[in-house]
């Protein structure tokens, strides 16, 4: 038994049953990180000392026979956009280098209260703007399945860490697909909850009306386990919804016979890799075999999702990121003559090019004289996209689509062409615009052994159904589950 290869559910059981100690688990995890993270570069910072100390405290509780919280002793990695009290939180940006929040995000408090142990902060595209984790100010993360390839983004550090067994679970954030697309590129399970299901307090905002925190896990069970802990109303977030949190683990146990599944035709045209389509078609057959009723459907406004997203998200970002001005905290330019040049130099030097591109785009979209043509129009189209989904969900319980048009692409392949990069999120973005939940899970592999993800979309607060459908598929998919083989030599060769 190799500890770090287990799932969270399995390792928690072993701790609970005193088969292993939380300390042993933690040691194994840090050994693993020490051994391979120089290749993956998933972590920006780790808390080894503190984490081992906390693991010992859990072991004392186990020994004393105390009632254990649900995640007692579980190592968890956190995307570096989620505030952790006393630990640097940089958003992958130079402008927040060395920024230490004096408070925990609500999800962090909930994880800690459930006995989870934060082992470190993971790499990401700067301020979650990107689909490859190449936009990090601290260098890219590598895909464990092929180190020459990107892990996806923006939560690439989180998904690579889980895929490389450097942690059992990780939290990511999803504004346009940033949990699901990297989960899919790394063969993991990524869940984007309904907007309002998980508190955003402490999630450093990129696009406030779209951002949600979600788990990246090795399997659906773990996803259910984490969702149960982080979901629920929070007094600190006005947009969090006061609805009872179901027992997601329990919902796995039911089947999906007669589940009505829609497959939107707009997701299978133009730009989709034939291998992805092929694997998806096979996956749909598995659903059919399980008794689901599958039909082709339509989401007619799909083609407007990308431009709509890039107006709304950037408009909100231009405002959310305005606070990084060098006054109170974070980076401040060394040279400036007056207030205006302090702002200008600080922000010019502190932000990377993709962030600047989006701030400019968003500023433009909100400018007087352009607001109606861009921001307001985009909001109207957003409503149409929502209505597409409402209509579909009046007929179907879930929709199934690919998560991304292609498997993981190569490092540097799309860096110089932002528009091509944006297309990587074309299947995930509409979900954020509609505020509905979706889960991505592995459904197969390309010929070159790259994972391919399947996305299940549900209506508002239908995470239970998503988890149930995903679990049933996971248990019955006839593709054998693989582990990535991390091959440094090959990478070095390629790099040379």
């Amino acid at each position: 038994m190799i500890l770090h290869q287990l799932t969270a559910y399995e390792v928690l059981n072993l701790i609970r049953k005193k088969k292993i100690t939380a300390y042993e688990v933690m040691q194994d995890i840090f050994n693993r990180i020490g051994k391979i993270d120089n290749l993956i570069k998933a972590f920006l910072i780790t808390n080894q000392e503190e984490a081992l100390k906390e693991a010992k405290e859990i072991d004392v509780k186990v020994k004393n026979g105390e009632v254990l919280p649900p995640l007692a002793g579980l190592p968890v990695a956190i995307k570096d956009i989620i505030a952790t009290r006393g630990t640097e939180t940089t958003c992958g940006s130079k402008i927040l280098k060395d920024f230490v929040p004096p408070y925990d995000a609500t999800v962090i408090s909930r994880l800690k209260a459930a006995g989870a142990i934060i082992i470190g902060k993971t790499n990401m595209d700067e301020f979650a703007m990107g689909s490859s984790t190449e936009n990090s100010a601290f260098g890219p993360t590598h895909n464990p399945w092929d180190l020459k390839r990107v892990p996806g983004g923006s939560s690439g550090g989180s998904s690579a860490a889980v895929a490389a067994d450097e942690t059992f679970v990780a939290l990511g954030t999803d504004t346009g697909g940033s949990v699901r697309q990297p989960a899919s590129f790394c063969g993991m399970v990524g869940l984007k909850p309904t907007y309002g299901r998980v508190s955003r307090y402490g999630l450093i905002a990129y696009a406030s009306s779209l951002d949600q925190i979600g788990p990246i896990t090795k399997d659906v069970t773990d996803s259910a386990l984490i969702m149960k802990v982080i979901s629920g109303h929070d007094n600190m977030d006005s947009t969090s919804v006061n609805l009872k949190v179901p027992d997601y683990l329990k919902s796995c146990q039911e089947g999906i016979k007669d589940l009505k599944v829609g497959v939107p035709k707009e997701y299978f045209i133009e730009g989709i890799d034939p291998e992805v389509k092929d694997v998806l078609d096979k996956a749909l057959k598995v659903f059919e075999k399980l008794g689901a009723k599958i039909e082709e459907t339509t989401l007619p406004h799909t083609e407007y999702s990308l431009p709509t997203y890039y107006l709304i998200a950037t408009a909100e970002a231009s405002s959310n990121l305005a606070r990084y001005d060098g006054v109170q905290y974070g980076y401040r330019a060394e040279y400036y003559d007056d207030l205006a040049s302090m702002y200008q130099n600080t922000r010019s030097e502190g932000f990377g090019s993709e962030v600047k591109r989006r701030i400019m785009l968003g500023t433009y979209a909100l400018s007087s004289g352009y607001y109606d043509a861009y921001y307001l129009k985009a909001q109207k189209v957003r409503t149409l996209i929502k209505e597409d989904f409402d209509k579909a969900f009046s007929k179907y319980d879930i929709l199934i689509t690919p998560t991304s048009p292609t498997p993981a692409f190569k490092l540097n392949e799309k860096v110089s062409d932002p528009l091509t990069m944006y297309l990587s999120d074309i299947y995930t973005i509409p979900v954020n615009l509609a505020g509905i939940p979706a889960i991505s899970l592995n459904c197969g592999y390309s010929k070159s052994n790259l994972p391919i993800g399947l996305q299940i979309i549900g209506k508002h607060f239908s995470e239970e159904i998503l988890i149930r459908a995903a679990f049933n598929f996971e248990q019955n998919n006839n593709v054998e589950k693989r582990k990535p083989e991390i091959k440094p030599a090959k990478f070095k060769e390629a790099a040379a």
Partner: protein, 484 residues
């Protein structure tokens, strides 16, 4: 061309809720050490989110209702984006095209002709306050700025009027009444000097003949009622002069410079900010239960207007007195408290509007902090009525009370200045005066009434003013008649 003055006002009032608008920090920030009255939320630290303090909505609704506004069932918060070091999020959470209250009015009375004017209230909305920049020396000479965020997130209500004022005087009358209203509503202390009530004015001139509107200029930084009137008058004169000289008025924002008594250009229309307003995604649309609005309307406290009428009726004082006494809540409260202890309303209003106001103004003391409490004032007035002291003596006693905070009776006792109540003692003095002034007696007997005043003065001189005047007056007359 004959011009008419057109003025509209924008007033910000700090709402006196206990906690700030979006966090649990106290609103009691004045005098606190810089940056100690803050938390991650009002500092706008990354990842924090605003949660509306429901009391803010209640206070603002109360204000809007008292100003006869229609309360919108659903309104929205917007972000007003601009960079400034006192604004930690680089945007202010405000309301833009969907304010809480719209279409209200307030009536003012123009003194002199007693004309009633209805001033339109365009809107009442809520927004958060920013921090403050502090400079060593003054802003021009200091080489750096320090930011104090204690004020960040203090709730404000912004009240915007229609351009209904025809003169700076009218605008000032409105402001004074508005202050009194918000004080009576207990939503704001109305202190312009401390910035809890702030006023900007839009001023333009209209062609009296054609009605064509002129270019408007916005005036900011008027930090007292006096400054408001002076600044507005200056701006009206400046615009009139420009037009008379054939010059054009530029649309701009001007700053009132209190030390120089002029307005100075801050920025022109071209330099105006583009605030890039958009709906605040971190807050849900603001929903107001109309039943609660009705409840607020039913439970509005007594407002200055009805209080004034009540004062006229209950205390039998002139309208003018009642108007002044209700122009601030604290003044009205002081009057009422004292009136509950002392029954002559008019004597009381004279003392409050006269001596007390004079000393308070001179010493820059708020009436709430007056060293002469209503109880002490009532006691002093009773000493006058009881002939223990004369009105003239009372003025000295009052001064000592104000300066020492002592009771009137204590001061009277200590300085031995009470009136001579022993009539025999007084009659002896009167005899002495009559004997020493035969000429005056003669004059009086010949019908010169003035002579009696002279004799009274002599008695007062000898008794150091401690004689009861009416007793002396009657006693003198009688003694002379008896033909001493």
């Amino acid at each position: 061309m004959k011009e008419e003055v057109v003025i509209g006002l924008e007033i910000h009032i700090q709402l006196m809720t206990k906690a700030k608008m979006f966090c649990h920090c106290s609103t009691d920030y004045i005098g606190k050490k810089p940056n100690t009255n803050t938390c991650p939320v009002c500092l706008g630290l990354p990842g924090t989110l605003p949660v509306l303090n429901k009391k803010v909505l209640e206070f603002a609704t109360r204000t809007a209702v008292a100003l006869n506004c229609k309360i919108e069932q659903v309104s929205r918060f917007h972000r007003k984006n601009y960079f400034y070091p006192d604004l930690p999020k680089a945007y202010q959470i405000s309301q833009y095209d969907s304010p809480l209250g719209v279409g209200g009015y307030m009536e003012i009375t123009i003194p002199g002709n007693n004309e009633k004017r209805r001033i339109g209230i365009t809107r009442v909305h809520i927004e958060e306050d920013a921090g403050k920049l502090v400079h060593e020396g003054d802003i021009a000479s200091s080489s750096y700025s320090l930011a104090d965020y204690n004020r960040c997130g203090i709730p404000l209500a912004e009240i915007v009027t229609e351009p209904d004022f025809c003169s700076p005087e009218e605008a000032q009358i409105f402001l004074v009444k508005l202050r009194s209203i918000v004080q009576h509503l207990e939503v704001c202390d109305g202190n312009m000097e401390e910035g809890s009530m702030r006023c900007d004015a839009n001023i333009s001139l209209r062609d009296a003949k054609t009605g064509a509107l002129g270019t408007k200029v916005e005036i900011k930084n008027m930090n007292s009622f006096k400054a408001v009137k002076k600044a507005m008058q200056f701006e009206v004169d400046r615009q009139k002069k420009l037009l008379a000289e054939g010059e054009k008025i530029i649309q701009e924002t001007r700053h009132w410079d209190e030390s120089k008594n002029i307005t100075v250009s801050m920025r022109s229309k071209e330099e105006a900010h583009d605030y890039r307003y958009f709906p605040e995604p971190d807050l849900l649309p603001l929903k107001v239960d109309l039943k609660i609005v009705d409840k607020i309307r039913e439970n509005l406290p007594e407002l200055p207007e009805s209080r004034r009428e009540r004062f006229i009726n209950d205390y039998q004082i002139p309208r003018y007195d009642a108007e002044i006494l209700t122009s601030s809540k604290a003044l009205g409260d002081y009057y009422e408290k004292t009136a509950s202890l002392y029954s002559n309303g008019k004597v009381l209003s004279n003392w409050i509007m006269g001596e007390l106001s004079r000393y308070l103004n001179e010493e820059k003391v708020k009436i709430e902090d007056s060293p002469i409490s209503p109880e002490k004032l009532a006691e002093m007035l009773k000493l006058i009525d009881g002939r223990i002291i004369s009105v003239k003596m009372a003025k000295n006693v009052f001064e000592k009370m104000f300066k020492t905070g002592k009771d009137a009776s204590q001061i009277v006792k200590e300085s031995g200045i009470s009136q001579i109540t022993d009539e025999n003692e007084l009659l002896n003095v009167i005899d002495k005066v009559i004997k020493e002034n035969p000429k005056s007696i003669e004059d009086f007997n010949q019908g010169k009434e003035n002579a009696l005043n002279y004799l009274m003065g002599q008695v007062m001189r000898i008794t150091k003013g401690r004689a009861k005047p009416d007793f002396v007056f009657n006693a003198l007359k009688q003694s002379i008649k008896k033909g001493v």
